[in-house]
Symmetry: C5
Subunit: 279 residues, 5 copies
């Protein structure tokens, strides 16, 4: 019997401290140029310029920026005092037509040299490349631990044999994979309902869960989903298109800050005003 | 002629001492979240919380807890004085639809750093990945030896060309693979009869054999099988679902302790009372 | 907020300085003997002799010569004071009939020992070998950084599932891959129109874009395309056949110098005279 | 001209001294539990116990025992003063249904640490895994040389495209592969006739050839074949089933000693009496 | 401009000095036991004995002997003062039925330890294994450079999609691959005509070209081809069967010496007398 064990939250290595604030997280992800190509910048062409995004990431709401090696090399040295870096280690263009897979584009040591605070790594559970990806994740995870970096798993079941990539059971399995394999944070798609979100969060145990923003939706639908996710245990959000494809990305960041960190409702947040200004 | 060779038991490196007691073993396995997903926790939802299991593992009957890297990182530091750690090195989600395979999610050195006493490694004999898995096992086994850690093989023939994964010949071959490849303990499914169990144990020579608990069955059927296994030479049991899917997992651990360590019959054990209390 | 960030050009590591002049670049590429075989030398048989090309590369317009290991070993020691070396690390004969792939024929360390100033690396986005090639690129890129060498990506989407390898969207994706994966310069095919070229350049952000010369065309068509590329943001040209398959390769280099470095029109350049002489 | 070269036998590194006596060899092989499973022990169930075999291997006739890592770990420390150890490095269960392949279950360095005098390595010429296996053999062979260990190749052509695995041309090719690739001893099946055996031995040049015992046959047939093999140049025998599947394994070892080391005929050896007693 | 560059021959690293004489080369190749099996020794059975070949290789005409690791280990220590060793690193039996491939049977470091002066490496351009083989070649080539060893490429296009392995374009491509990838010498089949030979030699630039002897032909045909090859720029010959399958191998070596080193015609060489005696 361990009498001094209080809560499971205390047990997990606090390796993700650098990319969370008060246990909450808002990851601004910007690897779309690799994963989807320039088409994702069409709704708001200025956002093809990475500097726009790094500027956005200085917003108080953002607890880390998730980018690939090329972006980090070119921009992070100028912004390292302003934001935490989540080094997205693997990724592949969508010209790839094979079973879901992701190239490891970045070594952990090199990411650490650039000042990264955490690593991000995609695992496609159910893909014919799952075993290979899990082994690549394992190696990166241990190197991250050696460098005192946090570990975020993009846990995205897909591939041969997966009928749905977002049903509640799949997402609950996805968060659990994060815990079982040694991630501090599992990033998953919203499983469709508050109950399913709550279940997925429980399955992650002491690991945190962040909702993936996904394709752009309207303000109300988007914020309501984030509100539901956070209300049901999610530690926050990883978001890209739902911020930078908007006309006014700072406004939605203000609203997200209100929902995630200030526990406002989506409705309150949309009414604005109460969100802290970006200083 | 070697005159001072007395029994084969003395010849085998006693590398598994840390995870046995009086030559007997009860492994509490908890890698179901990885191998099967949250569905395994549905019969007893609280057991999705790893802390419940680590608490259970403080029961006197348990000689080691078998978990993956993420679990060990999050919980073992709080429990290391209370139980031995069997680091389950490889494993894969059941979203995988290819020939049976298992990702190596954990390096032996990292497991040793976390205080693991032994490694656990799955080998799917007969799978198209058998050769690759055996080579991964070989490397892990030698690193375990270098770290004075015991070696437990989850010896599970399955895959293309295997008509049955539990017939007596298959299980006897499975335990033999453990001996031939350098495991201290071979974990196998119950081969269906006392005679088959005895044969499988003989084929393991000086290596120990533990029965795999498998899917949940009723108390009497389960304990009778364990009794038969132990009576026919098995050194004990590796169990997960047959403990944590029960309403009262501690009760079944009490009964298992009686059967495995105190050589009681299943019937006696079910009548209880004589089993030592969990202090 | 980062107040002292002025232009994105200042952010990118200036690792390509050694192979550019005033931010412009003209790469004389000569790996055709590997990629296409001797057939490419038929229009001007003397150019099968590498010495002819290395002599050509002493032309003022040329900012680097891109060759494979064998060429560099045999000739670069005699020319190292006269030109920068762009070590083309991977390449494969066109006898290869599988999905597009490219063998890594040269280690970065060996290239550095020979005095290379930058590496060149082909990535076939969309090929079934894309993931493998990207991982090879990643390793080479980091070793190049450790050796203070520039990185040029031959970003050539092709393979299963690619309907076109030159349409505007594909080329824009190709330049973006260069930026995302950590190249200083992305070498791509001309996307067919000034607007598409401009878009592709924008997608590369602070990374430079050079147009690939491609098959030989007539002087006016060729120079007009180069003019259009440069006018729309390309940093220059990587050229082989359009130089060495001509009767008078020095003349076209004179004209290219005028277009790329002196911002003359193709028409002016063809009229000649104003181009600086090759000293 | 090399005047002092006398016989080719002197040229070959004498790395196999430790596992031969007077240039003759009798390898007691006991990897059947891995390669075939417990079924091989059914004719003489006691032989499932490795200790029985290690005791047998103390017989004067036996020049080395060939076993896998698990066996060597468990028993060789007790027998290292009584016999030479031939570490059988690779092997695979017959549950494997793919093209012939063999997992490398043992590193050479680990085998050396355990006191092995030589390595044994299977090569399936003609298998779709031939190239991979040859490369694994090459690495093991060089490490064996660095450890002053002998090298025995189980040279067994089989797999796609092999019509026969025992015809004279195949066996002659098999022994030659042993010589060409750097084995000290090639272990092959009997090619069916004295002439074919002689030819196969010649093709091995200075490398030794040992006949593989194969499935159990009657005493006369077995010993006559061994007699024919030895009379035609074979250095001896590697035997398992034809010893341990017999009722009285020591008797057949007595007879084999007479045939292999004392050059008796099979008939003389069967009449017994003249064979030295096992002390 | 490099004024002191005189001839391209001076630029190439003279790494092949140890296996040439006056810029000419005659490689006695003896890897047939691996590549083809004992069938190649049937025309002259004594040549199955490697000692016969090593004795032959002491002939003045021979500038190196090309053998595999097993041969070199067993014989080269006795002959190292009499001949240069060309370590044939890769090779595979013709029992292999997959796409052309070749196992790397020998590490460069081990070859260097045995006193090898150069490495030999087969590349099957056009095979589905071309990329893999080229990468293996690249690694071996760089290690050879580090050991001051020459590099000979057996440049043999074959495999899926190759209609002819000897047409002039294929052979010209093959010699060019040698130059591009960093070989000192490219070994190719005779392309069928003097003009084609000359073209292939030109495509190799400063790298030398040696003709592969191929299957046995009659004296006049064979020597005439060698004469034509040398007259058109080949640096010599790599020969096996056309020497050792003859009744009197020394006689043909005498004649080859006359043709290759003394620039005699085939007719003159066949008349003999003028060839220097083997001392």
């Amino acid at each position: 019997m361990v009498s001094d064990a209080t809560s499971s939250d205390e047990m997990l290595p606090q390796a993700d401290d650098a990319i969370t604030r008060d246990g909450k997280t808002l990851i601004l992800a910007y690897d779309h140029g690799l994963e989807h190509g320039p088409v994702d910048f069409e709704p708001n062409p200025e956002t093809a310029d990475p500097e726009q995004i790094f500027e956005l990431a200085t917003h108080d709401a953002v607890t880390s920026v998730a980018v690939g090696k090329g972006m980090a090399e070119a921009y992070y040295p100028s912004y390292e005092d302003d934001m935490a870096l989540l080094a997205k280690l693997n990724g592949t263009s969508n010209m790839w037509v094979g079973e879901p897979d992701s190239a490891v584009n970045w070594s952990v040591d090199y990411a650490a040299d650039l000042g990264a605070d955490a690593i991000g790594f995609t695992l496609y559970g159910g893909s014919n490349h799952e075993v290979e990806m899990a082994e690549e994740f394992a190696e990166a995870q241990e190197k991250a631990r050696a460098n005192d970096m946090g570990v975020v798993m993009w846990s995205y079941p897909r591939g041969q044999g997966m009928k749905s990539t977002t049903d509640p059971d799949t997402i609950a399995y996805a968060t659990r994979l994060g815990l079982e394999l040694g991630a501090d944070i599992a990033k998953v798609k919203y499983p469709g309902s508050p109950e399913a979100m709550q279940h997925a969060v429980e399955m992650a145990g002491p690991a945190k869960v962040v909702m993936s923003g996904g394709s752009k939706t309207d303000d109300e639908a988007f914020l309501s989903t984030v509100e539901a996710a956070v209300a049901n245990g999610a530690s926050g959000l990883a978001v890209g298109r739902n911020v930078f494809q908007r006309e006014n990305p700072e406004e939605i960041l203000d609203a997200l800050e209100a929902v995630i960190f200030d526990e406002q409702s989506a409705e309150e947040a949309l009414e604005g005003g109460t969100a802290p200004a970006d200083d």
